[in-house]
Symmetry: C2
Subunit: 458 residues, 2 copies
């Protein structure tokens, strides 16, 4: 163990430089033009796993982006750990909001700054480096059997991976699943996540005239699609911040007073302001800030576009306007049921003066994990050793599409061993990963895989 | 006269081919990248005026885009006509909605199709061709003195031209002003316009968080700027279609019952559907369709943008969203007064959870012209000869920024001698100009300038 940690300390600069290479590949899964970069990132991942000592690594071609799968079975007796991460990243737009090229990583304020730094290449790298260090410490072996799955479609719904997992159930079987794609509370307060929200991602298009019109020649008699779309959007929330869709909350599990109080203690209005820079918090009345993020469903506007968006003026009355609308879901909401409710509400809100079309771009189920198992207790010890502080268990606001497949296909404990921070600006400009999260994360992962060696002992 | 008309008929194909060259220059005034094209279009205009026989033509450099000014004083006795048009065009976006390259003109269904075909290069060309034909018919002279002003900033507010006109009041002085930048009712019903709506063009930016956030990590506690902007937009109209801004209608002149009935007869719900392809008309209750377009003020959404607008998904909670909002104004509304009212309303509608900023991008005053003058009577006769049908007098829904300057600086009759059609799709994809409008328009302009030769006769 000492030897593995010593290896990391001695090689930390090289590891950072190597991670920078990984971050230079613009592996944006949602943009069709980046297919070659996706393959390049998959190949980089594969080669890096081999360099870390994993003997069997393959790049699996799929209908979508490639999956990287590595396997090292050291012994029939040892427990088997399935590790999951993803090499795909979100688009870097808006580019002008970055202080640098998003795919030319720089070190700033003790962070490595680049698209994908925290979500999720940095966290994938934590695991690869830990395996490499253990491999060296164990003289060419490992304390556990390792199966590692790094996919390229987490940001777009993990559809190819879900198929791959179902079709390779036996090959992928493990005693414990470890996922590194979450944040902790802070550098001084590590945390293990216990839940993900689900997601329904849609695109709503409102169409009025058959083509763009002159706003002087037809303004006043055409229901402007931007206005009609805005009117629909404005009617999707009530004035108390709740989502104005009949039945939306029917299946939402409510928290106990103790759980509410625990969440309230984690996040204040001052934390909110410092973290976001927004003038004032907003949201569903009757629920505290952290509770709204992790235990309440939301309806969010991810994008909108219509008419003239360039500099200056164009006096156009556009033929259509489009919004990207997503719902984050909590247990026991079902994405396909929510789709029906949203669709009905949009129809109800569409006036006869325009047409609307709702397209579903993806969905995933909400997941809440039990923490009452040996694997979680081992993970808690690993974090305590890696960060020097006992971690808390924490619900998450984000979503991980493959979770429900893992949960349905494999009946084993899942550990959400994430190493990011809430201030990492994931999905936004200047995304970053704290170098201490990298260093302590690798140490934690070393302790985790070492600790899991004893998983089968009674 | 016969000779001038015969010249047009004999040379019509060459004239169309020449107009196509004009339309190939992408003179988009609002986009900074097109500065060189603007100069090229100005130079083309200047050379074409010289080819038409105008002896003194200059390209005047300004703070903005160049102005082309041509002058031919044939006699101190003859009346002087100041002709106005513009060589700048609107952006061609969305390009994918065109059936062709917008700057590679084609002839389709008896129309010349290209950006600027009707607005306004085709109408500028009508006047140039008419001057050329008269020049030939008169053996190298003209029936009237001509001053011709073709500017490059009509679509962005005519700021440089307003300065030029004020600074060159004496040089530009004329007995009659002729402006060709309007539409008629149909090919079978020519029309002379008598009014323009004014305009207030603004950009509203709503900002929430200081940078883009992850919609899972912060969704539910941040007032999403797209949602906040949509809520503001949705509150700018009442449910009866009227503009929900206190005082907005205070200065609006109401029409007589006769005027309302006349306008109602011009435009039906069926006309609306055929012209726009929208499922149903919309607008201010209590006013007929045509009345809403030409005699009522509007508030229109010309564009909106925020967050992810690319293909597929990005689960971003954007830091800001922007809308382009313009008001068309009617007598006696004042743009700067309406700005104050709109600004106050936006402030009132901005919740404490976001910030908003309203930027004014341009304004122009509404104009209503008297038709009770000799120049208008001469124009009516010219249309009757050119189109074979007596023209009607008609209010317009569009705006022409330089109008109020002309009206303030020169106390002379202004004739809005336009030759476009409502189906020309100006400002939209597949903009076009009917070849019969071109042919009959040139004939009408020949008769008009010929007729104005007798303007000073009592």
């Amino acid at each position: 163990m000492e030897k593995a940690i010593a290896y990391i300390d001695a090689n930390f600069e090289n590891l950072v430089s190597d991670l920078k290479d990984y971050l230079r590949i613009p592996s944006i899964s949602t943009l069709p033009d980046y297919e070659a970069e996706m393959l390049r990132a998959a190949q980089w991942t594969s080669e890096r796993l081999q360099r870390a000592g994993i003997p069997h690594v393959e790049v699996v071609r799929t209908r979508g982006h490639p999956i990287v799968y590595g396997e090292w079975i050291v012994s029939g007796e040892a427990p088997t750990v399935l590790i999951y991460g993803h090499y795909d990243v979100q688009p870097a737009d808006p580019l002008e909001a970055w202080d640098q090229d998003p795919f030319e990583p720089v070190i700033r304020d003790n962070h490595i700054v680049a698209r994908g730094a925290a979500d999720d290449k940095g966290q994938v790298y934590v695991n690869i480096a830990a395996l490499e260090a253990l491999h060296i410490a164990y003289g060419g072996a490992l304390p556990v059997n390792i199966k590692i799955l790094i996919e390229g479609e987490e940001e777009v719904g993990s559809s190819a991976l879900a198929t791959f997992v179902k079709e390779n159930k036996d090959r992928l079987s493990a005693d414990v699943i470890v996922i590194s794609d979450t944040t902790m509370l802070s550098l001084d307060q590590p945390a293990i996540s216990t839940s993900f929200r689900g997601m329904l991602y849609t695109e709503l298009e409102v169409t009025g005239p058959a083509f763009d019109l002159h706003s002087g020649q037809h303004g006043g008699v055409v229901h402007n699609p931007i206005q009609a779309l805005s009117e629909i959007i404005a009617s999707l929330h009530n004035s108390d911040g709740s989502v104005a869709i009949d039945g939306f909350y029917d299946r939402v599990r409510t928290l106990s007073e103790q759980e509410k109080a625990d969440l309230a203690s984690l996040y204040s209005e001052d934390d909110f302001k410092a973290e976001t820079g927004a003038p004032k918090s907003w949201g569903e009345e009757g629920y505290n800030l952290r509770e709204r993020i992790v235990a309440r469903p939301t309806l969010e506007l991810n994008g909108i576009v219509g008419g003239w968006t360039g500099p200056g003026r164009k006096t156009v009355l556009p033929s259509k306007a489009i919004a990207k609308i997503s719902c984050r879901l909590v247990p026991d909401q079902e994405p396909d049921e929510v789709e029906v409710l949203l669709r009905r509400r949009i129809q109800e809100l569409t006036p006869p003066t325009v047409r609307s079309e709702l397209r579903v771009l993806g969905m995933s189920k909400p997941i809440h994990l039990s923490a009452d198992n040996r694997a979680t207790r081992i993970a808690i010890e690993a974090y305590e050793k890696g960060f020097g502080v006992r971690p808390i268990l924490m619900r998450k606001g984000g979503s991980l599409p493959i979770m429900s497949t893992f949960s349905d296909v494999f009946n084993v404990p899942i550990i959400l061993a994430g190493y990011g921070l809430p201030s990492d600006r994931v999905h936004g400009p200047n995304e970053r990963f704290h170098l201490e999260c990298l260093r302590r994360g690798i140490a934690t992962a070393i302790h985790l895989y070492q600790g899991l060696a004893k998983y089968k002992d009674s």
